[in-house]
């Protein structure tokens, strides 16, 4: 995994260099070989739907992997890969599930305190826990060390020796979000070094581009304060960057995909969702609206990811905005925004993690 991350960084540097001149959209993406990708389907345990994994190897797509030694767990949130293992924090199951990617068998579970999200530096897995801790788990020994980052930590991201953590507390009655900060933990001292003020309710979307800029989606209050994308530069300064609720970026690129979705629930259960897509050159800040082509478009986008092998955009979606227990979809677009594939996934496909090629 370390090699994979190093390769990502090296290719990123190459790409930054190559993009120093004004060039169009990334036509030739520096390739980092991937042997497949996992889709983490959250399920809905209230309706007796447990979390599942889908897997695609670029030739075939398996909507539900049959895992050895049990099931994934309830409410999986995301996934990170270290070595031959996929680590999936399962919130309701209060554990981190470890899956051997060669055999697709569950080889371990680490009990945590309602884990929310995981990131990695290639050696440790960092997991946010509901009681405000950031747990650091050694992939080699599974030793756990914790540090307090703030109330209701959610998404986290490792970049350049620091872990950035969205803190998203709500009022006790869950009627309104309160969080406006991203906590920064220095991985050497393993202590929080600062809180960076961002927009309202930084939640489940984070990314870093090739320049080392961090992006986080501040989801607003789901009423009059709309979701915003905030940028934290490498010197720790934060600013509002765009309007939108879903982002996708890559440490290989200086681009940021932004998806803005609006759902109208007034005629529930018929919920109409409008989504607009744009791509931003993060070096210049220049935004360009894009029109995804193809007949099958995401009905209610959940998240977006960039394939590090070819720059393709992957968008996950629910079957409909109100279909919390229906099968979701995964849409793959070329760098020219052409729809390449649409796959049916499990229920509520929440995250995609790309599996690096291993020798």
């Amino acid at each position: 995994m370390k090699k994979f991350l190093s390769l990502l960084a090296a290719v990123g540097c190459l790409f930054v260099t190559s993009c120093s001149e004004d060039s169009p959209e990334p036509p030739h993406f520096p390739s980092v070989s991937c042997s497949g990708y996992y889709v983490i389907n959250q399920g809905n345990y209230y309706d007796n739907i447990t979390g599942t994994l889908s897997f695609g190897d670029f030739t075939e797509f398996f909507p539900e992997l049959q895992l050895g030694n049990g099931t994934l767990g309830d409410t999986p949130e995301n996934g990170v890969i270290v070595g031959h293992h996929l680590y999936v924090p399962c919130n309701a199951s209060s554990s981190l599930t470890i899956i051997d990617m060669d055999t697709h068998s569950i080889v371990g579970r680490i009990q945590l305190n309602f884990p929310q999200y995981a990131c990695t530096d290639g050696t440790y897995i960092y997991v946010t826990e509901s009681d405000g801790q950031l747990a650091r788990i050694s992939a080699a020994t599974q030793e756990i060390v914790r540090t307090y980052v703030g109330p209701s930590p959610y998404a986290c991201l490792y970049s350049a020796g620091r872990v950035y953590v969205n803190c998203a507390p709500w009022t006790p009655d869950y009627s309104a979000p309160l969080g406006r900060s991203v906590a920064v933990v220095d991985t050497k001292s393993y202590t929080k070094v600062e809180d960076i003020e961002v927009g309202l309710n930084p939640y489940d979307q984070m990314g870093v581009d090739a320049s080392g800029c961090i992006y986080t989606v501040c989801s607003g209050n789901f009423a009059d304060i709309q979701p915003e994308v905030w940028q934290i530069s490498s010197d720790g300064k934060a600013k509002k960057y765009a309007d939108g609720s879903i982002i996708a970026t890559s440490p290989l690129l200086n681009v940021l995909y932004v998806i803005k979705t609006e759902s109208d629930y007034s005629n529930y259960p018929e919920v109409s969702t409008k989504s607009s897509y744009s791509i931003i050159d993060t070096r210049t800040g220049k935004a360009q609206d894009i029109a995804l082509q193809g007949e099958s478009q995401p009905a209610a986008p959940i998240a977006a990811f960039i394939n590090p092998e070819n720059g393709h955009l992957f968008v996950t979606s629910d079957g409909a905005a109100s279909a919390y227990s229906s099968l979701g979809t995964l849409h793959e677009y070329s760098s020219r925004n052409e729809l390449l594939h649409t796959y049916q996934t499990g229920v509520h496909p929440y995250y995609v993690v790309f599996r690096p090629e291993t020798k």
Binding site: D47, F114, P172, F222, G319, A321
Partner: protein, 642 residues
């Protein structure tokens, strides 16, 4: 509880004095009498039927009634609610000893607080009440009546000890005393506890239902005085329970089950029903009820441990007058007033007050084999909030005024056959939770309105050795302005009037007993076909087919009953998407054996009963992720002193 016990002991000498030693003891004559069919679907189980059908719990007994959809969250103390004919649990009025009981906060009454051993009878009436004069609130879309008083024309005591699987123990002491020629007292005390950690299978793994301990106590004192012009009933009742709530089964989370619930309920009631020889009858009653619920969740949630305390009070009074100018015609007027209050430690749901005023005008006409009952009910609901109220957004739920009619017809072409039909409109107010609970509640909700039409046939006949009753009722119905929670956006949900539910179905029962010298064979069965659809899909947790059958053999040696309850597959969502959202069909088979030892020289008898529950060890779920117990036993010893 202790005071009640002392009272029970002190009442015993009074009763003994009342029965003079030179007075012959009153004899108990047991005889079978076919129940007169009613002009609406009504199904009842008295203590004899409950014993013969081998019922082991209230939830088991409810499954023997057609049209009922029981939501059982499993195990002793697990939440149990009923809905009838797809109308929703809040449309079923629970009536305890003739007076309605309710839960203004949640709507549906948790039936786990009632134990079958405390009940002498239960009945389900759908559509309309047969009695011309009755409290207005009992004239709901469906009424489940529970009778807990066991007044007998002689003094008696009964001690029951029950032990069942998973360290469950129950002790019950009940007594009836005559305090004079016209007055009787009836007392009962019950205490129970259970570890309740039954094994279950989930996801192919064999697990145990931990964090499911339960303990409760109940005490009741009732008095009946038969006066010259009527009957006066008074009762006080207390119930308290401590439960660990295991919650839904979560994969691989051993720390789940941090919820606790402590509940208390106290009731006091007084009822008067006249028994005048002339055509004017009247009745009046009042009840005060206090309910307290303390919920704790010590889970390390982002907002810390949750503590929700609720106090509900209900003052209820009813009065009614009936007049029968001719033998064929009866008229009645009833009025109910209910005051409900809710206090809590929440920033919302606090100091909510509701007044109900309901009036019913009834007319019943009988001619030859025809009976027609016409009713018009006026409902007025006024909401307001207390002085320091802090309900949702500081608003008060809207007031409601509505008229609902009903008509029930029955015709008896011959003594053994009755044809019946009914049309009924009913409605329910939004609960306090639906009105005020945080941002989920909405003060703008309209009431849910139900309309149902049903028709049926009843056959009831007594042959030389055989009693046979069979009925079949078909129905269609509609629930308008169904109250549901929907997303206002991705994270914030609101409660609104949205769906319509259409129902159609068939309920059928058969009851028969064959008496051959010292042997009695009994067969009882019920079947329900229930189609309850919203948006063209069957409602979650509503099986299309459900039913029960029991076969009993009473003999001089050991009486035996084999019973089976079953339900077809159900879904957890309106639109099932993956196989796990379809819960497979289930059945549960029970075997009951019992024998009554009568002692000729002593005025007492002893009943020993052994039940084997879920004989086939089915691992099933009524509600997804709330497993039901597998095979288990139950041993009961009852000592009756006459």
């Amino acid at each position: 509880m202790n005071r009640l016990f002392l009272l029970l002991i002190t009442l015993r000498p009074l009763a003994a004095e009342a029965e003079r030693v030179d007075t012959l003891r009153e004899a108990q004559v047991a005889a079978h009498r076919l129940r007169q069919p009613t002009d609406v679907p009504s199904y009842s189980l008295d203590s004899m039927a409950l014993m013969r059908q081998g019922t082991t719990s209230l939830s088991d007994a409810l499954r023997r009634l057609p049209g009922i959809n029981l939501r059982d969250y499993g195990g002793a103390g697990g939440l149990k609610t009923v809905s009838v004919r797809g109308m929703g649990a809040a449309h079923t009025q629970i009536v305890l000893d003739g007076l309605p009981t309710s839960n203004a906060q949640q709507g549906a009454v948790d039936l786990s607080r009632y134990d079958l051993g405390d009940l002498s009878a239960l009945s389900l009436t759908i559509g309309e009440q047969s009695d011309l004069l009755c409290p207005v609130r009992t004239m709901s879309a469906a009424t489940l009546s529970l009778q807990s008083h066991r007044f007998r024309p002689y003094s008696s005591e009964e001690i029951t000890l029950t032990h069942s699987s998973w360290n469950a123990w129950q002790a019950r002491l009940s007594a009836t005393q005559k305090a004079g020629p016209r007055t009787q007292f009836c007392e009962s005390l019950r205490g129970e506890m259970a570890d309740n950690d039954y094994p279950y299978v989930f996801g192919g793994e064999h697990l145990r239902r931990h964090n499911s301990q339960f303990s409760s106590g109940r005490g009741q004192l009732a008095c009946r005085s038969t006066l010259l012009r009527g009957q006066l009933d008074g009762a006080i009742h207390y119930w308290g329970a401590n439960r660990h709530l295991p919650g839904p089964v979560i994969y691989y989370n051993p720390t789940a089950g941090t919820e606790r619930l402590h509940e208390q309920e106290a009731l006091a009631s007084l009822q008067w029903r006249s028994r005048l020889p002339h055509p004017v009858q009247w009745q009046a009653a009042g009840r005060y009820a206090w309910q307290q619920s303390h919920y704790r969740n010590n889970s390390p949630t982002p907002t810390g441990p949750q503590r929700q305390n609720y106090d509900q009070q209900e003052a209820y009074t009813t009065a009614g007058l009936s007049y029968q100018p001719t033998p064929r015609l009866g008229l009645a007027y009833s009025a109910d007033y209910t005051l409900q209050t809710l206090h809590s430690n929440l920033p919302t749901d606090n100091n909510a007050v509701r007044h109900y005023l309901q009036q019913a005008l009834s007319m019943q006409y009988r001619w030859a084999g025809l009976q027609a009952t016409l009713r018009l009910i006026d409902h007025y609901v006024h909401n307001h909030t207390g002085a320091s109220h802090s309900t949702t957004q500081g608003q008060t739920a809207r007031d409601i005024h509505r008229l609902t009619p009903s008509l029930a017809l029955s015709y008896r072409p011959c003594p053994a056959v009755q044809l019946r039909a009914h049309y009924k409109e009913a409605f329910r107010s939004p609960t306090f939770t639906e009105n005020y609970y945080y941002h989920l509640g909405s003060t703008q909700l309209r009431p849910e309105l139900t309309r149902q039409f049903g028709t049926g046939i009843v056959f009831s006949r007594h042959y030389q050795h055989l009693d046979l009753t069979a009925s079949a009722d078909a129905y269609v119905g509609r629930v308008r302005d169904r109250i549901v929670s929907i997303p206002y956006n991705l994270f914030v949900w609101r409660t609104v009037n949205k769906d319509h539910v259409r129902t159609a179905g068939l309920d059928a029962i058969v009851r028969s007993t064959l008496t051959l010298r010292r042997h009695i064979l009994s067969l009882a069965g019920n079947y329900s076909y229930q189609r309850a659809q919203a948006e063209g899909h069957q409602l979650p947790y509503s099986p299309l087919h459900s039913g029960a059958v029991s076969l009993g053999w009473e003999n001089p040696w050991v009486n035996a009953t084999l019973s089976l309850t079953a339900a077809a597959q159900r879904t957890t969502t309106l639109t099932p998407s993956v196989p796990s959202t379809i819960l497979p069909r289930y059945h549960e088979m029970n075997l009951s054996l019992w024998h009554r030892f009568a002692f000729t020289r002593r005025p007492c008898s002893l009943v020993l009963r052994a039940d084997a529950l879920n004989l086939t060890n089915q691992h099933y779920f009524v509600i997804a992720r709330y497993p039901m117990p597998g095979i288990s036993y139950r041993l009961t010893l009852t000592i009756k002193i006459h």
